[in-house]
Symmetry: C2
Subunit: 410 residues, 2 copies
């Protein structure tokens, strides 16, 4: 990995073991690099699964097959290939994924729909079948100690500068259940779609339909509320696995005792993982929270917030620690949502810079400039029209983003 | 002006005089710079006017007043202030514009609606009234020689690196009529709205309604088909003035003899000016033409083309001369328009790199890499679904864009 993002957490967190989940990593050498790039997670029989995937129409074979597996509702294994997205590779790419699934089915004697494969990296190059087969052979049936969460989190990365994990717990009728997740993502991150690659595991017993319901709700305010560069991956996938090993009576509805607590834990893990992706945004030097209030609806507020969060001019101004709030006005006005210039108010941090269509009386830029020198920036816009509100997270746009992306394949 | 864009034309073109149009420039010192920044254009009585303005909801007072003038249909003067956009400045900004209009009305004894004012530069700072009054006093009633087109084109600029002008002519029933235009724009350029600041003049006699009809049509395929950074100015304005001094019988419908020829000249000037804005895109090192065909409709093709043209990952790849066509696939897929991964074809220049959902057989990257080393890049996507097609123009995304915009106000 390259230099760790200045916005990274101090260290990888301690994640609990999730009963029914075992991990292995291997070197498939999908790229010519000195690291593991194949992750294999085996799940106990009976594990429920939920998932959300990219809305990008040109999605990968992996995503199409994940959707079939999600509909099936049960999972036995997850394989993640890093360094090659295998997207837009036609029948050759599909053959590679089918080979991986067949190899796992032969080992676990399970339904092919219960094997989930993700791939991430360059688009348009078929995943090399020989490397996949040899890499997978190293981890299937391996008897030694499992890979750590941190190893797995590191093995699924591509341009990420730090491995990302999070955990929470909940109590279901007196039993503690654990939730742990890992995620990768740094660029090609846009919120209109599912997300990058994220995997969350719990030992709680949950029916697949309820699990899916919880994941859909959690994703909206977490993975779907972040943006790095407004670009949406062809491979975005978040999967949530519930092994049922905690021994609780299986949850089937949100009214079941403990369901709300479990949801809160899932939401907390998803939010932390999503924000870590922004903190590792390509070239990021500032973490930015955009809060919009006073919109005609929450959805309208969200669109305005994304217009601000995706504006190259807003993002470069913040990179330059420049309180150029006129660009926030511009981004509100171009969003295509109801707004009234003369009721609009803008703030940085807790400092209002403009209200009712003009700069505030006696505007003092000093505290605003001080806020912008920090690593955590908050931008607020109140539209003054209604009760709609939304929060999204993004990072600034810097020379680092250009350097990383003008020369990605070499 | 800073270093001239590598994509700039060799020199400012020779533009014809337009009878009934006289120009003056002055130093109002809206910023502390060593250049003219106030442009005054006086138009002969009877001049017709048409215009298109930004769709940004947070538009400036200038834009609101231009709209009233466009509805009126007649013009006597145009004033352009550079260095201060006077947008989001509330009643203070409005007072400054009203003072300018009153000063011109006192001189010309005309209807206030016939005075058009534009301002461009930083948002949120009221235009200084004293500087405007003193600057305008230097040019109103000035008896010496008019400013050249190049002087005027240079005086309306802000971050532009070269002045932009274009001209064409047409024959209306045996009489030659002239069309000449100037434009400024470099950043905060997005095509969903009207445009930056552009002014086109003709000596043809044309009824205001027909003039507006011609401008609307020309704008769609020119100023509204370019993007630098997907950000839309609060001040975007294009005005088209027709002085009627050519002596032709006034045109009132598109069926009148010569109307098509005049339209073609207006379209040619608008297209050249729009492409010059892209050639001066902030930090641009490549001029990019994006052609989409095979879409279900022209409008759908346009949205897909804009998704490609606005993708930071596509633009940085081209800056890096990297044939990373997977990013074009990604941008097609995220556009939200009908597309079928397995019918999609992508090309750079005339070289097809992918067809029917996978790389072309025997793909040779050498000629593609050679095309990408040039200054003029063509990206094509055929969706294979229908007859819809569209072309848009953009530039690459480079370190220069970050440098310019992270430190714009200092």
């Amino acid at each position: 990995m390259t230099t760790r993002s200045p916005l990274a957490p101090a260290a990888f967190p301690t994640l609990p073991d999730i009963a029914g989940v075992s991990r292995r990593v291997a070197r498939a050498q999908y790229k010519n690099w000195d690291r593991c790039d194949l992750t294999y997670v085996e799940l106990v029989p009976g594990t429920a699964v939920a998932g959300v995937t990219t809305r990008n129409i040109c999605c990968s074979t992996e995503v199409e097959m994940c959707r079939e597996g999600i509909a099936h509702g049960r999972a036995r294994a997850l394989i993640v290939n890093a360094g090659n997205a295998n997207a837009f590779t036609g029948y050759r790419g599909r053959e590679a994924v089918e080979q991986i699934v067949a190899q796992v089915v032969a080992h676990l004697d399970c339904d092919p729909k219960e094997v989930f494969v993700s791939s991430t990296g360059v688009i348009g190059v078929p995943l090399p079948k020989d490397k996949a087969r040899e890499g997978l052979a190293k981890v299937i049936g391996f008897a030694g100690p499992p890979a750590s969460w941190e190893d797995a989190a590191r093995t699924i990365t591509t341009t990420d500068t730090f491995p990302k994990g999070s955990a929470a717990s909940a109590i279901i009728e007196g039993r503690t259940v654990q939730v742990a997740g890992i995620v990768k993502g740094s660029g090609m991150i846009a919120p209109d779609m599912a997300t990058m690659l994220g995997y969350i595991f719990t030992d709680a017993a949950v029916a697949p339909a309820l699990l899916q319901d919880m994941l859909n709700e959690a994703t909206g305010a977490t993975f779907n509320s972040i943006t790095v560069d407004s670009d949406t991956s062809t491979s975005d996938t978040v999967l949530l696995f519930a092994t049922g090993q905690a021994g609780n009576a299986p949850l089937t509805t949100r009214d079941d005792p403990g369901a709300d607590a479990l949801y809160a834990a899932i939401h907390a893990v998803a939010l932390d993982l999503a924000q870590q992706v922004v903190r590792d945004g390509e070239g990021a030097s500032k973490f930015i929270e955009v809060q919009v209030s006073g919109a005609v609806s929450d959805e309208s507020a969200r669109r305005v917030a994304l217009s601000i969060a995706n504006s190259p001019l807003v993002k470069t101004a913040i990179a330059g620690e420049d309180a150029n709030w006129g660009r926030v006005v511009m981004a509100v006005g171009k969003a295509g949502e109801p707004a009234d210039r003369d009721r609009l108010a803008i703030r940085f941090g807790d400092h209002w810079v403009a209200k009712d269509g003009l700069p505030v009386d006696g505007y003092d830029e000093a505290p605003v400039a001080a806020h912008l020198k920090g690593l955590e920036i908050r931008v607020g816009a109140d539209l003054g029209l209604g009760e709609g509100r939304a929060t999204v997270w993004t990072c600034d746009l810097t020379h680092g983003y250009i350097s990383i992306n003008a020369d990605y394949r070499s």
